[in-house]
Structures are given as C-alpha cells and as structure tokens.
Amino acid sequence: MSLTITDVSFSYGERSILHDFSLEVAAGTTTAVVAPSGSGKSTLLRIVAGLLKPTTGTIILDDRNITNTPTHQRSVGMVFQDNQLFPHLNVHDNVAFGLKVSKMNQRDINSRCHELLELVGLGDVMRQSVATLSGGESKRVALARALAPSPRVLLLDEPLTGLDQELHDRLAQDLHQILHSTDTTALLVTHDLTEAEIISDSIHHLQ
C-alpha cells in the first residue's frame, strides 16, 4: 500500500498555499513532512483525506486515483491535532465508530476494540467517558480509533503538539513502535524535527 502525491497545488482565492507538491510514501513506512506553522502542511493532509479539493494534481493510493473520491470512501485514517473525540460516546464507542460504519458484527467489533486499546496501552478505560481522559490518554484513543478500521493510509496532524516533554517523548517512541508493528503506511506533518526523526522512516522538508 503506497501513497503517491503528484504536483498538488492549492490556493484560497489569490493566496497560493501549496505549489506543485509531490511526495511518495512507500508501503508500510512512515514519512514526515516537516515545516514551520502556517506553511500549508495541514492543508496537505486535508487534501489527502479528501476534506479539501486540490486546485491541480492527483492523489494515488495503491494504484488507484482517489483525487475525486469522497472522504468516507477513501479508507484513510486521520489523527487530528486536538484529537476530536466524539464527546457523546465513551472510549470503546469512539474506537468502534469506524468499525460500526463498515457493518462489522458486534463480536468482531468488541474484540477489535479490545485489541486496539491494548495496543495503545489503554485496556482498562473502555467504558469511561472521554471527558475524563488525560491529554496523553485522549491522544492514544484518537490513534486507536483511526487505526481500528485498518485504513490504507494513516494521516497524523501534529500529533504530539501541546503535550509535556516527558509524555511527548514517550508517546513518540510508542507511536513509532505501533506504526511499525501494525505495518501502517503513514504520513505525518509536524513542525518539530526531532519528533519527526523519532517517529518516521523518512523526512521531507516543505518550504
């Protein structure tokens, strides 16, 4: 499973945000795009996810051109900067959300949720309300939720920003390990070079 971004441009009216951007993420690897804030890296992720339409260029996922495919049919997972956990669902139901959509039966959903939450180290908070979670726990739930439907590519938007140093370092290590052990193809955007070095296999600098 590989992701190929070719000559993608995007502009808001007159303002050009991305210009002829190309990048390839090999199957099973993690690529980081490192750039300062406000340089259009979130825009890039939103384009890959299908939440924005590029002005020009194509997105190819596993030899399939998905440039015009609606988001919900792309099979991309995304971890948002501030997690965006569903406030009305508990931890288990947050993780199960993408599985329920795919009409999986309840037993398989439960075992998959369990598996994922164990993977991110949160086996014991299944039934808790998401409002009671700490920052690190929320991040792990968001990751588990994005991974649960086995997306073909995982998009990470500044996943560790705003966490304290100790937690930040530990989560970066964990993230690297989890992505590797699940053989996930992932695209990470961040402004933090050291974070990118720990998590990803290759690094791309965006001007």
């Binding site: 996810a49 919900h72 991309v76 997972g77 995304m78 948002f80 009305h88 329920k100 994005a146 998009l155």
Partner: protein, 516 residues
C-alpha cells in the same frame, strides 16, 4: 471547587410560576369545581373528541415541525450565506403573526380541498413552530466543531451516517426540548385551529374556552384546565427524567464561509418561500380594497386619513406593545437564565423543578385570566386594575422558552473558565459581567427574542385585561377584523404587517451577533 447548591437561583422563576399560574388555578378550582363533574365531564362526547384530536394533531404537527426544522436549523447554524439574518428574523417573526391574518393568508394559499382539514392545521403549526427548533437546537449545533465531522468522514461515515451518529446525538437534548415545546404549543393551540380547523375540530383549550365562556360551565372548564395541566406536567416529568445531558464544551465559532451546496440551497429556498408567501399575501391584502389597489388601509392606520367609526392610535399601540414586551423580557430573561443555572446542574430535584416552569404554557389563557381575577382581588394585592399584570403574565408564558433556549448554552460553559477568571482576581460581579454574560450571549439573545415575540403576539390573556387607552397591536387588529367593511379589513391587514415589521426589526437588532 464545586458549587454547593445552585438551587436558590431557581426561586424567582418558581415564584413567577406560582404567582402567575399555580396559585390562581388552585384558588379558581377550589371555588368553582363541583365534585360530581370531576367524573361526569369525561363522558361528554365533545370533551372526548377534543382530547383525542388535541393529541394526534399535536403529534403530527410536532413530527412535521421537527422534520422541516432540523435541516433548516443545521444550515442556519453552520453556514454563512446571503440573507441568513433575514431568514432567522423571518422564522422568529412567524411566532407573533396574528392568527386571523395568517389564517386568511393560509386559506388563500392552500388549495380549496385542504381547507378545514387537519392537514391545513398541521402545516400551519409547522409554520409557527419551526422557530422553536431553530432557536433551541441552533446554538447547540453551532458549537459543534467542524473537524468532528471531518473526523467521522475519515472513519468512513457517509453524510447520512454522520447525521445519525454525530449530529442528531449531539443535539439530542435540545431537539427533545424543542419537540416537547412544539408538542405543547400544538396541543394547546387555539387561534390556528379555530380559523383553519373549522367547527368539527376542537382542541382541549378550545373546549375549555367554550365551557367557561359560552356555556358558563366554570366547573367543567376548571376541571379540564387542571387535567390538562397535570397531563402536560406528567409527560414532561417522565421526559426529563430519562435524559442525561451530554458533555460538550462550548465553543463560539464563526460560520462556515463556504458556499452552500445546491441541494441545501433549494431546500432553504423552499422553506423561505413557505415563510414568505403568507407574509406577502398579507402585505398584498393590506393594499387591496374590494377589487382595486389602494393605500387607504395604511393611511387610516398611520393616522394620515381620519376615518369615522375607526378609532385607533397606532403609535400609542406600538408604544404599549413595546413597553409590555420589554418589561416581559426584562422579567423573563433574568429569572429564566438564573433558573437555568439551577436546572443545568445534574441534581434530580432541580431537574424536576424545571418541569414546573412549563406550567404557564400548560394552562389555557382564559382560565389563567379568570383565575387571576379571583385570586388577587383583595387589598393590598388587588392587582386587577394594574397594567403590569399583562407583562407579568407574558413573562410567565415566555419563561419556559427562555429556559429551554438557555439550557444547552449554560450546560456548555466549562467551569474551568470561571475558575480561571477567579484566579485572575475577578470579583463575582466582574466575573458575571466579563465571563458569564459574554458566554451566555447566544442564550440571552435567543431568550430575549423569544420573550419579545411571545409578548408582542399574545392575545388571549391581554384581551382580558386591557384598558381602552393602552391597547396592544394584536387587540387593535382583532378589533378591526371584527367589523364589516373594506377599510377596517385593509387597516387590520396593514396593522398585521406593522406588527410583523416591528417584531422583525427588534429580533434582527437583538439577533445580529447571536452566532458569532
């Protein structure tokens, strides 16, 4: 750091409800109900018919209102588009349209086959009550982060699935609130049904009026009024017990500047047409006398032309209406929002108290009028000749709307913010002014708009207590529609247009910042 008890905040609201509804009804019941009627009244066929009809038309009306109201609310609370403010005002203004005028407009628009049918009633009820949904659910949905929906999309959820699993659940308590209010507005509907429904179709409220006024059967009327009140309170009680409020942080957000897609645009256009058509019909008939166009109605209304036999002072009526509306809002807003703080706390006693505030809506205005009359008739509480009674009753009627509009907002204010303000050294008054009130702004403007609209359009209780020199616009309109001739009719139509415009202007000016 938790609040020990917010219950005292509910006291003013409870006092208002007790004074304006509960105590008078008890006094009236004690003095007119005769024991034998308590059972026998239910065997009357007109009572049974009214009970059945009230219930099922209210269910149907509520369903249609919610179905039309939810998509409308979503687009209004999420997208910025040309004419959005006007649309919001339009939706609220329907609340105050005098039923005689709207009834005529609806009859003009509906195909003949639908006249005097339940269908006509249901459509008109939806027209009148969509603003409840827009106003109650709107602030809630407005605070839902766009990225939450993006996130659901990346997890594979289709738009339909997002509605089912994210948008509806996040608005659930507000939707249920608005559905409940709509149901009771329709259940106790009076004017619409008497105009569009025709004589075979009567709600319980109409039956109560008939018994009290036409038949002089006060005992029967009081029994039915008490029964209706108990029924509504019971349903509300059960309703509010089963609900837990979701936790969602309140976030003022700017509206989506993106263009509305074509589908929603068409839908909104259709809804707008549904609202504009009766108003246009009204404006047209205000400028028509007999078979020609004429501005005579307007000239008489504005005092430019003197017409023998029509004694109206429009400016005075507008002033009186505005005065009552402002006082009513001035009472309903602080009491309602204070009470909301008490009810937003998840203590069961408080939540059950919140049921009580629905009472003023649950009692027929005729019964309230009669009851107040015999309750406050002794010195020093002889309020009967006081004009303040009118805005006080209006505020009691507006109270449930203020509370239900404010509840989602108050629930959404994070306690951390208050704590943060406190650590910065803000005193309690300053905190109220600098932290709470700005955060409450959507609730305040919604509650204000609702109270003004309720008061400006209220007819039943007002007509009971008016003085000749302080008639409100609805009273003047009813008077004009009560006599024969082209000029009184056109003047009445013009007065209805004025009522709509005045309300629209007030609502627009209050409302401008409600979602920003």
């Amino acid at each position: 750091m938790r609040l020990r008890s917010t219950s005292p905040l509910a006291i003013p609201a409870v006092i208002l409800v007790l004074i304006a509804a509960v105590i008078p009804l008890i006094v009236l019941s004690a003095s007119v109900i005769s024991g034998a009627d308590v059972i026998s009244i239910w065997s009357k066929s007109s009572v049974q018919r009214a009970l059945i009809f009230s219930t099922w038309q209210a269910l149907l009306s509520t369903a249609l209102t919610i179905c039309l109201g939810l998509p409308t609310t979503w687009f209004l609370s999420r997208y910025e588009f040309f004419g959005r403010q006007v649309f919001m005002a339009l939706v609220t203004v329907t609340f105050v349209l005098p039923t005689v005028a709207v009834g005529a407009a609806f009859l003009a628009l509906l195909p003949k086959g639908l006249h005097h049918s339940t269908m006509a009633i249901v459509v008109a009820h939806a027209f009148f009550n969509i603003s409840i949904v827009v106003r109650t659910v709107g602030p809630r949905w407005n605070s839902v982060d766009d990225r939450l929906i993006d996130c659901a999309q990346t997890l594979g959820a289709s738009p339909l699935h997002i509605w089912q699993s994210i948008i509806l659940p996040l608005g659930k308590s507000a939707i249920l609130s608005s559905a409940a209010l709509t149901f009771f507005m329709c259940f106790t509907s009076y004017g619409i049904i008497s105009i569009l429904g025709g004589p075979g179709l009567a709600t319980l409220d109409i039956e109560i009026y008939r018994r009290a006024v036409q038949l002089g059967d006060l005992s029967g009327a009081a029994i039915l009024a008490v029964a209706q009140m108990l029924l509504i309170v019971t349903i509300f009680f059960i309703w509010s017990r089963g609900r837990t409020s979701e936790l969602i942080s309140f976030r003022s957000r700017t509206l989506n500047p993106q263009k509305l897609p074509l589908g929603p645009k068409c839908f909104l256009f259709g809804v707008a047409a549904f609202f504009v058509a009766p108003v246009l019909a009204l404006i047209a008939s205000s400028m028509r006398t007999g078979r020609s166009w004429s501005l005579t109605g307007w000239r008489v209304l504005l005092g430019i032309q003197n017409q023998k036999g029509i004694e109206i002072d429009t400016w005075q009526a507008m002033q009186t209406s505005a005065k009552y509306a402002l006082i009513a809002a001035g009472i309903a807003l602080p009491t309602g929002i204070a009470a909301t703080y008490a009810f937003s706390h998840r203590q069961s006693a408080n939540r059950q108290l919140s049921t009580l505030t629905i009472l003023p809506l649950a009692i027929s205005p005729v019964v309230i009028g009669l009851a107040i009359l015999i309750t406050y008739d002794f010195d020093p509480f002889d309020f009967r000749s006081s004009w303040l009674l009118i805005p006080i009753i209006h505020s009691a009627i507006a109270l449930p709307f203020v509370i239900r509009a404010a509840l989602p907002v108050v629930q959404g204010i994070p306690n951390d913010l208050r704590l943060a303000a406190a650590t910065l050294g803000a005193g309690s008054w300053r905190r109220l002014l600098t932290v709470e009130i700005p955060l409450l702004r959507p609730a305040i403007s919604t509650g204000f708009a609702f109270s003004l609209a309720m008061s400006l359009g209220e007819f039943g209780a007002t007509s009971f207590l008016t003085r000749r020199e302080s008639r409100t616009l609805p009273i003047i309109i009813a008077g004009l529609f009560g006599r024969a001739g082209e000029i009184p009719r056109a003047t009445g139509m013009a007065a209805s247009v004025v009522l709509i415009l005045v309300t629209a202007m007030i609502v627009l000016s209050v409302d401008r910042k409600s979602y920003s």
